[in-house]
Amino acid sequence: MVNVTVNPLTRIEGHLSVDTDVDANGVITDSRSSCLIFRGFERILQKQDPRDAALLTQRICGVCPISHGLASTNALDDLYGVADQVPKDALVMRNIFQGLNTIASHATHIYVLWGPDLANPAYRNVLATLGDTGNAVWKEMVGRFAPISYKIDGQSVPVGSSYIAAIPEKKRLQEAIALIAGRMPGSVSPYPGGYTYKANVGDIVKLSSYYLQVMDFVSKYTLQVPFDAWIANTYKASSPQKAVSFVVEHLKGLVDKSLTSNDFSREAGWGDAEFYAAFGSELVGETLLGLPASLKHDKIGGYSDPSKIAFLAYGGFYNTENGDGYDPTSPEGDRFQTSGIVTGKLEYQKFDSSKITESVAHSFYDDSKGDLHPTVGETIPFTDPAKIDYTGGSDSKYTWDKAPRYEGIPCEVGPLSRMLAMKEPLVTGLALAFNEKGYSAANVYTRMMARIQETVIIANELLKWVTVDYDPNGKISVPIDLSAAKNSQGMGLWEAPRGALGHWISAGSDGKVANYQAIVPSSWNMSPRDAAGVPGPLEQSLIGSKINAVGNILGVDYSNPVSIFHIGRSYDPCISCAVHTIDLTGKNAPNTLRIV
């Protein structure tokens, strides 16, 4: 047994260690996910003006500050009792605001954070065994996805064409956000009862222009099917099977054209999404398309026991068709992306927030009461440095992240969970196909395909929000009664790009914050074991995966565990989010903390 640890796992937000035990065949037999930082964040909100939360919680994460701002604003709408009155146009502005951030965050993840792993020299070595075809595929991978300041065998590798082209697009999206939110990151516009900025007609024209420029990037780099055709045949397909068939047929056309000439370039029709859709998966690439090899990303990062995993979505983006107001406690049916629990066997269930508990059995906290619902939990952090020890193994405490559970089950959150909960045809179809053929429905490939597909879907919706749904002459806020916060509570359920995000607030008799809590996506995904010893999603998905490229085809090399990189990053981890701390009940103050 060999211990392989990736620490830090870079190109994520924050500091994460992925620690694995690997057998002689290069298969991971055990794993631990450790968040390496303790920030002490939400404690600063206590005894303060509740409204500050919408701006200060944005500082939990500089990559997706808007999700925190809006989850917090939802909780504040609830706290002040104005959720049912928030003007429709404020809700549309919030949708635009979040939509732009989700697209920017996904683009950053796909191109800047995740993509560079495709330029790992391990792939060159594997693909070289396939002669001209393999070499051509490698040339595309390194040519598109190599990061900046990169060297292989002492030679500087030019930065990838897609990587370098994505940075200005990300910047452009941030500009569009700034236009309606002052700046990005750290925007100023979420506010209970509405939104601080009423976009005018000129802004709408500019937003449309930003949108069109980003679409130019999408059609040049990402997706070479006309955007409308892709939407019509996948997202709006009449069945999951039809959506998958459309994509497979499209890819088949490309493969037929390219295999003889070994031309997988953009000019030959291979956008980055097509390239990954075909070569990323064994089932799609090798079995269905007849490619000579694939990256086999569908065989890593899966779950072996469907009874120990579920997919959770709180639901994101307001349905604004019903006019003003929304129901802060019941996202189901009230959101464009609905809430739901999808079991490990892909069965849909309604979401009930009362079923969430958290465990600190393997986190650096003392625990006197066992697993509790977050609103009544307690957390007592270690302040003795000697007890903060990451090396004790799976039976010890090894992280600052806690272990959230839904009815005792660890949940994956993020684009894949959202797409499954909303029954999106393409992603649902892929998940069903993998399930049927004996693969795990969730794997590195389906996670990345879900992220790509969600980007397209939100881009599609964004244009409607900007040009149809928003009325520049509409109302943008309603006044809030500050005294309404006294002895009140609020819950904000929302979706960050990385997954389900919940903020809970309560105020005391003085109207100031008594308690504040956020359970963030990476708390779910990067979760350690719970009191029953059940590993979190990342940990489960590592176990059983082969550590090297393409199923360890070239033998076992512990020193370049490419699969660990792919699996870890497929969740788009955000560790700063995962390790902010809060006090839950106030009963434990001043020396107890809660980490979520």
């Binding site: 190109r11 206590q46 990169y150 940075i167 002052g182």
Partner: protein, 383 residues
């Protein structure tokens, strides 16, 4: 910006920043103080001159990656231009680099081409780099620094290794500069004991360097996040030799280690706020979503020493008050404590906002004038 300064900018309009001898440059910057000096010449900064390669080692402490995100939003120069034109080798940056730490049975594996831990060790050993720190540094618990570990070291240890060999140190963002949001007042602040690189909030001797006994000059680029221009133009000026470290720093930096050119001591965001006309007429918004002065919604622009209102953000499309959000003075050393409550007007908490009266007398005078101005407006309106 005062009229005098505006004239000076006008006079200097035709001057070639890059051709200016250093003495003239220093004199100009000293005189300008509150201006957009570097901004006026940013195109020249990226003009095609040949430079020796400059290595950057960018370390992430306790942070949200917001400053790196902001850096990627830079324009003229943008990050790619800056790296290419200034011949910068971004040798280590955790969010962008290809490598990661790889340990096999507890030992570092592979080479620096794949292993970030080996890469960082090699870079530190070679020295001759500019060290950029994003995020604060926990000294806790109990001075151990163990509230943040990276690889198998505490972040405090990593700073202790990286700082002595750096040619210059730049603390990017309010966390790295002053402790920022991680050091805000709370009942756990004493346990986490978060520090900036050189400062702890307003205390210029409270930083982690002092704790570690390292004496190195630090340029602070605060902001939550820092503006990409502030980062890239400071970096450009250092690389171009327009700012010599450490000899020029006493003239170029204010008492909080900030380049005066971006954080003018005699100028606040309020002065150039697009809503300023409403303030002068005594017209205030009391609910969000309007277009008038945000003073009554808690705007701290009169206390914020930064050029946001002129420079603006994200390709100059907007900035906080323009989009209806009160300025939260995120560039100030006491942020966020000195800005809270964010939506409550600041006059009733005293003009100094917890800052040191000796070191910020100018701020105090400016702020007092503002508050007096508000009262004057009220008197005029008969409120």
């Amino acid at each position: 910006m005062s009229t005098g300064t505006k004239n000076l900018v006008h006079i200097l309009d035709g001057v070639d920043f890059l051709k200016m001898d250093r003495r003239t440059f220093m004199k100009a910057v000293g005189l300008l103080g509150a201006t957009v000096m570097l901004d006026s010449y940013k195109a020249e900064i990226v003009s095609a001159l040949e430079f020796a390669e400059t290595k950057l080692v960018w370390l992430h402490g306790s942070e949200c990656t917001g400053c790196s995100e902001s850096l990627l939003n830079g324009g003229n120069p943008d990050i790619v231009q800056a790296l290419n034109k200034l011949n910068v080798n971004l040798a280590y940056h955790e969010t962008l680099l290809a490598q990661q730490g790889i340990f096999v049975d507890g030992k570092l594996a592979n080479t620096s081409e794949l292993n970030s831990e080996i890469l960082l060790e090699e870079l530190i050993k070679e020295g001759n780099y500019i060290l950029i720190v994003e995020g604060s540094i926990p000294n806790g618990p109990q001075g151990s620094g163990k509230y943040l570990m990276i690889g198998k070291k505490t972040f405090k240890e990593i700073i202790a290794e990286a700082a002595p060999n750096a040619n210059a140190i730049i603390a990017v963002g309010s966390c790295a500069a002053y402790g920022g949001i991680t050091s805000a007042d709370s009942d756990i602040a004493k346990d986490t004991d978060y520090r900036g690189v050189a400062f702890a909030k307003e205390n210029p001797k409270g930083g982690i360097l002092q704790e570690l006994g390292i004496d190195k000059p630090v340029i602070n680029i605060p902001g939550c996040p820092a503006h990409p221009d502030w980062i890239l133009l400071t970096l450009g000026a250092v690389i171009l030799g327009k700012i010599k470290v450490p000899e020029d720093l006493p003239v170029l930096l204010d008492n909080y280690g900030r380049p005066k050119v971006f954080y003018p001591p005699d100028h606040t965001v309020h002065e150039n706020c697009p809503r300023r006309g409403y303030y002068d007429r005594g017209e205030f918004d009391e609910q969000v979503g309007g277009e008038k002065c945000l003073w009554k919604l808690g705007c701290k622009a009169p206390y914020a020493h930064a050029d946001c209102a002129i420079r603006k953000w994200n390709g100059s499309v907007s900035f906080c008050t323009q989009a209806g959000g009160p300025c939260i003075a995120c560039v100030e050393p006491g942020f966020p404590d000195t800005s809270r409550p964010l939506y409550v007007e600041a006059e009733d908490k005293g003009v100094l906002l917890g800052a040191n009266i000796d070191t910020v007398s100018k701020v105090a005078i400016g702020a007092a004038a503002v508050v007096a101005g508000v009262h004057a407006v009220r008197r005029i309106k008969g409120e």
